[in-house]
């Protein structure tokens, strides 16, 4: 029995009509991502990766082609149905964390469940949010507000929020863009651990270092896929962290 892909893109196009010139941001992308994959979508700015990301995230609809998420043809759905898809099938992690300010980590994580049409009880919400925070190693800081947390911790809260509705897909848009290199590696470690547990992750990045933590690299240029290959010499977060510490030690000793 063949495995059904989580994401299946078939000749996806996106054209923006801005004034007299039509901007053809995505020009015929076809792609299939299977459950358990960890994919990096790469490309320089203007390559169409953000547009593609918005469509994969059901925030936007393609102007041509079809997109099946978990077997559902998302390209034909209306606004409300897209909202439900985002709620149930997709977990978002953003570059700017996008947490609600002056709201505790726990409440931030509970937030997507308030829009879940399965009506999750208050007790189960608390349980699931606590569990999700535990998964990203923040069980002790549930009552902290975002301004009391470091960047890496905020991103962990965002990951917990993305996981809490048990989505089929975790979608990360430059998740390490606002973080220093050590924290970036830690966050990639969180992603690798989640991926090992079977969660499908698609990540948009322009940094090769970050992309090397994934299993598969898709490179876009001018709205088309130019490279789609498995990652060779994959980085493992634990090893990278160890290497970083040794380097720091060496710097200290040298001075």
């Amino acid at each position: 029995m063949p495995i059904n892909p989580v994401i299946k893109l078939d000749e996806i196009h996106k054209t923006y009509h801005t004034g007299e010139v039509d901007v053809h941001a995505v020009r015929g992308v076809s792609l299939a991502i299977l459950p358990g994959e960890f994919v990096a979508i790469m490309g320089s700015s203007g390559s169409g990766k953000s547009t593609l990301m918005n469509m994969i995230g059901a925030l936007d609809r393609p102007t041509g082609g079809h997109y099946w998420l978990d077997g559902i043809d998302v390209s034909t759905l209306d606004r409300d149905a897209l909202a439900d898809i985002r709620n149930k099938k997709i977990g978002f992690v953003f570059q700017g964390f996008n947490l609600l300010s002056r709201t505790s980590a726990l409440e931030n994580v509970e937030m997507p469940m308030q829009y879940n049409h399965e009506r999750i009880g208050a007790h189960e919400q608390l349980e699931r949010a606590t569990h999700a925070l535990g998964l990203v190693g923040l069980g002790q800081r549930a009552d902290h507000h975002p301004n009391q947390l470091s960047g890496g911790q905020q991103q962990r809260v965002a990951i917990a929020r993305a996981l809490v509705n048990r989505p089929s897909l975790l979608l990360a848009d430059e998740p390490t863009g606002n973080l220093d290199s050590q924290t970036s590696i830690e966050i990639m470690g969180v992603f690798q651990k989640l991926n090992e547990q079977g969660i499908t992750i698609v990540m948009v990045t322009h940094e090769l270092d970050v992309a090397r933590f994934t299993k598969r690299m898709v490179i876009l240029r001018d709205g088309k896929i130019v490279t789609d290959e498995a990652v060779q010499n994959r980085s493992v977060a634990e090893n990278e962290l160890q290497r970083l510490r040794q380097e720091q030690q060496a710097v200290k000793l040298a001075s």
């Binding site: 925030l59 985002r86 308030q114 879940n116």
Partner: protein, 401 residues
């Protein structure tokens, strides 16, 4: 709709900006407070007027003697003596008439106890206290026998008692009216001032026969007090009296006038009601201004929280969820503001009423109206900002700086 969750979200959002929420509510607080305060004050004042009018007696009809016309000059009511004691007796025989009293009034200098006092001396029947709903504080009312025998008996009001018999019991003592000694048989309970500012306790009441034959020499009475069986019977009795007196006086033109205390009450309360409506109208305008304040702040709040709206949409909030969230925030603001306004308005009116010694009236109907209308104002003023928020594009909202 997940109303409960939306309520929770709205509550959190409002608590995050306590000062702003309070200032936003201020318009509604003042508006509702002004409505409730003015309405309850005017209804308190109206009630006081009603109490005063009903202190004139219950279901009382007063017949005034008519005006005279001589050489084209017309006098006012009571200028022509037309009513007699016989008229009174005839009126007493009508259906639904409980009690009657012919009334003769005169100002006299009265003496007692080495002191003197100018007061209103009234000639009445023994039914007078019953008609005026006035009790006797000590002693008794003079009797029908006293009326028949032109007895020199008197019942005095509280003010006269205080002036002539300070710290003494006047009952059993004598008071001299036009040098005739009248035996004081009773003292009336204090009744206070009437609608026109007259001290009702400044009076001496004697049998009307004694008044007409001993103090003054009159054949006509000033007016006749009639007590009907009930307020409902008043109109019928009034018509019967008119018919009866027209027949008795053999006159084509009505030489008397019949009034009841309901008409008086309506005339007096109409003024305070008009005042109340005026105040409530001004207050309603400030409610609308309060609503505009809420709309303004909600619009600011939507712009300020564009990113939050984007996040919520990204994690699966539908347009309707966002609409309901902001609508509930607006309604919560105005409903809480309305409640505070109701409490504030009531407190204010209690305070003023206790200063002025007015009776307080809790206008429950108006409280309900004020609460509902402040909630409605919340919906109206919150709808446009909420609709605007719900129409945001999630991608644009997420990248809003």
């Amino acid at each position: 709709m997940r109303i409960f969750a939306s309520l929770k979200i709205a509550g959190r959002a409002l608590r995050r900006n306590k000062m702003r929420s309070l200032l936003t509510m201020l318009g509604i607080i003042i508006g509702v407070g002004a409505v409730i305060g003015s309405v309850s004050l005017t209804s308190g004042a109206t009630k006081q007027v009603e109490d005063q009018v009903s202190s004139l007696g219950e279901s009382v009809i007063t017949i005034f003697s008519g005006n005279f016309t001589q050489g084209g000059m017309r006098g006012g009511w009571g200028s022509a003596p037309t009513l007699t004691v016989e008229d009174t007796k005839a009126v007493a025989g009508l259906n639904n008439v409980l009690a009657v009293s012919p009334e003769v009034r005169d100002r006299e200098q009265v003496l007692a106890n080495g002191l003197n006092w100018n007061t209103q001396v009234m000639g009445e029947s023994p039914d007078y206290p019953q008609i005026r709903n006035w009790s006797i504080a000590s002693g008794t009312m003079f009797s029908d026998q006293d009326v028949r025998s032109l007895a020199k008996s008197a019942v005095i009001g509280k003010t006269v008692a205080d002036q002539l018999f300070p710290n003494q019991n006047p009952v059993g003592q004598t008071v001299r009216i036009r040098n005739l000694p009248f035996l004081i048989v009773g003292v009336l309970a204090p009744k206070g001032f009437n609608l026109f500012g007259q001290d009702q306790d400044d009076t001496v009441v004697v049998p009307y026969t004694s008044h007409m034959h001993r103090i003054t020499t009159r054949t006509f009475v000033n007016d006749i007090l009639v007590q009907a069986a009930s307020d409902k019977a008043i109109d019928g009795v009034q018509n019967d009296i008119t018919d009866l007196l027209l027949a008795r006086h053999h006159s084509k033109e009505q030489d008397f006038t019949v009034r009841n205390q309901l008409e008086l009450m309506q005339a007096v309360t109409a003024t305070s009601r008009a005042m109340g409506f005026l105040l409530a109208g001004v207050a309603a305008v400030s409610l609308v201004v309060g609503g505009i304040g809420i709309m303004n702040i909600m619009l600011v709040s939507v712009t300020e929280r564009t990113r939050e709206i984007g996040i919520r949409m990204a994690v699966g909030a539908r347009a309707a969820d966002i609409l309901v969230q902001f609508l509930i925030e607006a309604v919560t603001l105005s409903a809480i503001g309305g409640s505070i306004g109701i409490i504030g308005g009531m407190t204010f009116s209690w305070f003023i009423a206790s200063l002025q010694h007015w009776p307080t009236v809790t206008p429950f109907g108006w409280i309900a109206i004020a609460f509902v209308s402040s909630a409605v104002i919340g919906v109206i003023s919150g709808f446009y900002p909420a609709w605007k928020a719900s129409k945001l594009d999630p991608i644009d909202a997420l990248h809003y700086e």
